[in-house]
């Protein structure tokens, strides 16, 4: 199904997955290769047991550039206007910066970019950035930087298997500022085993003292297949209690509110409305985006598909679209915009989900939702158990 935005031009976000890291973080469930892995596997070429040969940076670049060309041809007639690009990973910042430049150039060649300033974000880890690299990013038009700080507590960083120390984060941040980055996000994690409220407050203090434009605060999730998951199954650590995890979250809500941050998505805050991550917002309102690179997910022309590994191809029905729009929109601060829903789906929310509407009203009575004439949004309390509400739609 084709989402008709009512204009002839359709906007498109482009996500570029860079599947390389200095070392694999223990909690990370995203597809990536650590440098060590690569060398190890590279040195054993000819060993038939290594059937899935490691992806070299060269091979990655080659196939990525081919994909960009290919997709630009496939979507030639769609009149897409690219207004956001997001380099995620993995750790995009460990790629030699020229490669980032090459990728952006290829994208600009294959696709029409929006006039003015498209939002171009890149994720980076402390210690992987240099002044030269940052300068080059600016030259390529990258205007948003997302730094994976995760914690200011070295014990926590070690536990998570991060390749940097607490001190590195502030240095990297200052370096970025010096190179003119005025839209910086910092990632922090909470709900970590043995993390105390004090440690969390301290991390928040430190991060706020840097005055970033944007903050992402993630509660630790144990993902199957990760080192941390294995350790947990082996009984090597106990998960933090749900109570403390939520206390940390609600502390952050209150604290960031005082500091003037706008809580616009379950895990995201921005200093001003125009500093929200426009690319990530596309995921919550059924906007179209193209994912490039291994395992990247796309939603274009009403089809959800993912690159290998984890290949998927699913043509969304109207019901799929309705359900996905509903549960993803609930993640946002505005919530489900029933007016937008009706425009996108072509049928009113109440007509698509008459039974669910009753359940939602029940949740509203229990203080988990706010429902007004136009919006249905989670309350702060409702966020804690939002899966219970979202699963109504699947």
């Amino acid at each position: 199904m084709i989402i008709n935005s009512g204009k002839n031009e359709r906007t498109l976000g482009i996500y570029v997955h860079v599947p390389f890291c200095l070392s694999k973080c223990k909690y990370c469930g995203f597809y990536s290769q650590a440098e060590g892995d690569e060398k190890k596997t590279l040195s054993s070429t000819g060993d038939k047991a290594v059937a899935a040969s490691p992806l070299t940076v060269e091979a990655y670049m080659k196939s990525l550039l081919e994909d960009i060309e290919e997709y630009s041809r496939v979507y030639e007639d769609c009149n897409f206007i690219v207004d956001t690009v997001f380099f995620g990973g993995g750790t995009p910042s460990i790629l030699p910066y020229e490669f980032i430049g090459e990728i952006i150039a290829a994208l600009r060649k294959g696709f029409t970019f929006v006039k003015g300033q498209p939002e171009i974000s890149i994720e980076a880890n402390p210690k992987t950035l240099t002044a030269d690299k940052l300068k080059a990013y600016r030259e390529y038009g990258i205007n948003r930087l997302s730094i994976g700080v995760q914690s200011f507590d070295n014990r926590m960083l070690e536990f998570l298997g991060r390749a940097h120390r607490a001190e590195d984060a502030a240095e990297t941040f200052k370096l970025a500022r010096e190179q003119g980055f005025d839209n910086i996000n910092l990632d922090l994690m909470f709900g970590l085993p043995n993390q105390t409220m004090n440690s969390w407050r301290d991390s928040l203090d430190k991060v706020l003292s840097l005055k970033p434009e944007h903050l992402s605060l993630y509660s630790l999730q144990l993902e199957e297949g990760t080192e941390l998951f294995r350790m947990f199954e082996n009984g090597e650590f106990a998960q933090l209690s749900d109570e403390l995890d939520r206390d940390m979250y609600h502390y952050a809500l209150e604290r960031l509110n005082k500091e003037g941050y706008d809580h616009y998505e379950i895990s995201n805050w921005a200093l001003r409305k125009d500093l929200r991550c426009r690319h990530n917002l596309k995921y919550w309102d059924l906007s179209e985006y193209l994912g490039l690179g291994p395992s990247a997910a796309s939603y274009v022309n009403g089809v959800r598909f993912s690159e290998e590994p984890g290949f998927e191809y699913r043509e969304n029905s109207l019901e799929d679209n309705a359900a996905e729009l509903a549960f993803t929109a609930l993640r946002t601060g505005e919530g489900i915009d029933r007016q937008l829903f009706c425009e996108r789906i072509g049928v009113s929310f109440e007509d698509v989900f008459p039974d669910i509407m009753k359940r939602l009203e029940e949740h509203a009575r229990c203080g988990r939702l706010e429902i007004d004439d136009r919006f249905i949004r989670l309350t702060e309390k409702g966020i804690d158990t939002s899966n219970q509400i979202m699963s109504l739609f699947v």
Partner: protein, 600 residues
């Protein structure tokens, strides 16, 4: 056939002592059936029987054996069910015989179940022919076991054939012993018809097929028969013998074991133990020992969420057609809606029925706590039999409650005496006496309330003795007892399906156990779910399933919506196996989990 060439006998054995295998060998050795055709005829037919290693339905067959004396003998081999729940059925099939082959595992020795069946056989005046099985095993100790048989049963085991049913050795010795030792039947073929129903099955084409032993007289097609206890009359359409399939014959006469078809619609109309005679020329005295089977254990069976009431009803009807001991009638529960109250011989019988519903009919059902039948004596002296705790009259109207007491015979290796006495004490047992028997084993005789036995006593006995303990029990009397109704409240609402009647002294422990078990099983909700156990208005135990504090996908990044959707779908899938009580969702397994009380 001259009666002197007929031998009617059963094989009695403890579970796993090799009865079914031995029966197979006997059939092979009589040369009547090629071994490849035999399997389906003689092995335990149901998957369930095979898995559990027990015989649920009887199998009967007629064999021809050419003995060393040069004569051909007819062997009517009547298989018996092998579990404590089916004692009456065993006793009736034994009554159809003159003798019994007692199979004792020569590596295990005599077990409680063996004893119980031997006593039943002795009560029926049967000649017991002992044989020792599994002599091929290194751990076999035939001499000791022979001595045990002599000590414990008081029969001569000196010449007991040594058999390996598995390898087929010693079978001929056994068959010769059957010919020599088991007496031929001695009924009067010219007397008035007197036949014993020892089993009946339902056949889709013929209706009920009665398996009977003819004591006196003759029977043939066209005769009008009278079932003396049910007082019903039927015209015989076919008689025959099992060889091993149904083989019609002209007639059956004194000494024979055979089948009768007479357009009978339900097995409950041709009950085991009833006497068949001719309607036109009846015998004056029916055979002794007829007993209408009493259901000892009751429980509710309800369609699980999304299952249809009618579907369950059809299945129960089909099962009942073939199982006279199984009763059911409609009932309703405020918690579970429309369902059935079902009566069983015992807990195993109940489990078998429930498993058959699930496997053979593909139905998902919820079973409520099993209950025995209580005698409630009202203030005005009226007596009410209550088998559903929910139906207990208001306490103010009750003078007192009586509960069924059973005599439990437990046999265990002596090392386990301490733990089993403890178990029996926990279950309110009174020890009558205890005896050390051969082979380092001890027999404990207890009187115990049946409601303590039915839950998981047998499982507990097995697990506390590493499988070596065995149990036999029978109802002896009703006894006045301090019983109370224990209710369970979820989120302050009474869930009647969990109600149970327990002894006052055990109410607190039981209540606490149920609360804790439910706390483990009931998933977290958006709100706190208090779980309470109460007697009347008085709450005696409580726990709380705390509310979900956190159920949120924090990171939803890279636009991989499908992955998140799958997570949510998985969560929703889990909810489908739940049963909703008010606002509380309870997994199906909660109903059985609260019954598994033993924690050792």
């Amino acid at each position: 056939m001259d009666q002197k060439f007929i031998r009617n006998f059963s094989i009695i054995a403890h579970i796993d002592h090799g009865k079914s295998t031995l029966a197979d060998r006997i059939i092979e050795n009589t040369g009547l059936v090629a071994s490849r055709d035999m399997k389906e005829q003689f092995l335990d037919n149901m998957d369930l029987e095979r898995e559990r290693g027990i015989t649920i339905k009887l199998q009967t067959t007629r064999l021809v054996y050419r003995a060393k004396d040069g004569n051909e003998y007819i062997f009517n081999l009547i298989d018996t069910p092998g579990h404590v729940d089916f004692t009456y059925e065993v006793s009736r099939s034994l009554a159809a015989c003159e003798g019994a082959v007692l199979v004792v595992d020569s590596t295990q020795g005599v077990e409680a179940q063996t004893m119980a069946n031997v006593y039943l056989a002795i009560n029926e005046d049967l000649e017991i022919v002992p044989c020792l099985n599994k002599i091929d095993l290194a751990s076999s100790r035939p001499e000791e076991v022979k001595a045990e048989i002599e000590d414990m049963i008081g029969i001569d085991a000196d010449d007991a054939p040594l058999v390996s049913a598995k390898e087929g050795t010693g079978i001929v010795d056994l068959l010769e012993a059957v010919v020599e030792k088991i007496p031929a039947p001695t009924g009067n073929p010219d007397g008035k018809l007197k036949a014993l129903i020892f089993d009946s099955v339902y056949d889709n084409y013929k209706g009920v097929v009665i398996y009977a032993r003819i004591y006196d007289g003759k029977l043939q097609e066209g005769d009008e028969i009278l079932l003396m206890n049910s007082k019903k009359k039927y015209e015989v359409t076919e008689v025959g013998v099992m060889s091993p399939g149904h083989t019609p014959t002209k007639h059956l006469s004194a000494g024979d074991v055979g089948y009768i078809v007479a357009s009978i619609k339900q097995v409950k109309d041709a009950r085991v133990g009833d006497t068949v005679t001719l309607a036109g020329d009846p015998t004056e005295t029916p055979l002794p020992g007829y007993k209408k089977v009493q259901s000892m254990v009751y429980c509710g069976i309800y369609p699980a969420e999304g299952e249809k009431y009618e579907g369950v009803k059809d299945a129960l009807e089909k099962l009942q057609v073939n199982d006279a001991a199984f009763l059911f009638e409609p009932e309703t529960s405020t918690a579970l809606g429309f369902g059935f109250r079902c009566g069983f011989l015992g807990l195993l019988h109940m489990e078998i029925i429930v498993e058959r519903l699930e496997r053979e009919f593909g139905l998902a059902v919820v079973t409520t706590a099993p209950s025995v039948v209580y005698k409630v004596v009202m203030n005005d002296g009226r007596e009410e039999m209550i088998q559903n705790p929910t139906n207990l009259p208001p306490l103010t109207e009750i003078s007192h409650i009586e509960e069924p007491i059973v005599k439990a015979d437990i046999m265990i290796p002596k090392d386990y005496v301490g733990t089993i006495m403890e178990l029996c004490q926990e279950r309110r047992g009174t020890m009558i006496h205890m005896e050390y028997v051969a082979g380092n084993r001890v027999q404990l005789h207890y009187e115990m309330p049946l409601n303590e036995v039915i839950y998981d006593f047998f499982d507990a006995l097995k697990s506390r003795t590493r499988g070596y303990g065995s149990l036999d029990y029978e109802f002896i009397r009703y006894e006045r007892s301090q019983l109370v109704k224990l209710d369970v409240l979820l989120n302050k609402d009474l869930v009647d399906a969990f109600s149970m009647i327990v002894h006052e002294s055990r109410a607190y422990a039981r209540g606490k156990f149920v609360c804790e078990k439910l706390k483990e099983i009931i998933p977290m909700h958006q709100f706190e779910v208090p779980i309470q156990a109460a007697i009347g208005q008085k709450v005696i135990a409580r726990t709380t399933v705390r509310a979900y504090r956190k159920d949120v996908i924090a990171k939803c990044y890279g636009g991989d919506i499908s992955r998140k959707k799958k997570l949510l779908e998985k969560q929703k899938e889990g909810k489908k196996r739940m049963r909703q009580f008010g606002k509380v969702e309870v997994p199906q397994e909660a109903f059985t989990a609260v019954l598994k009380y033993d924690n050792k």
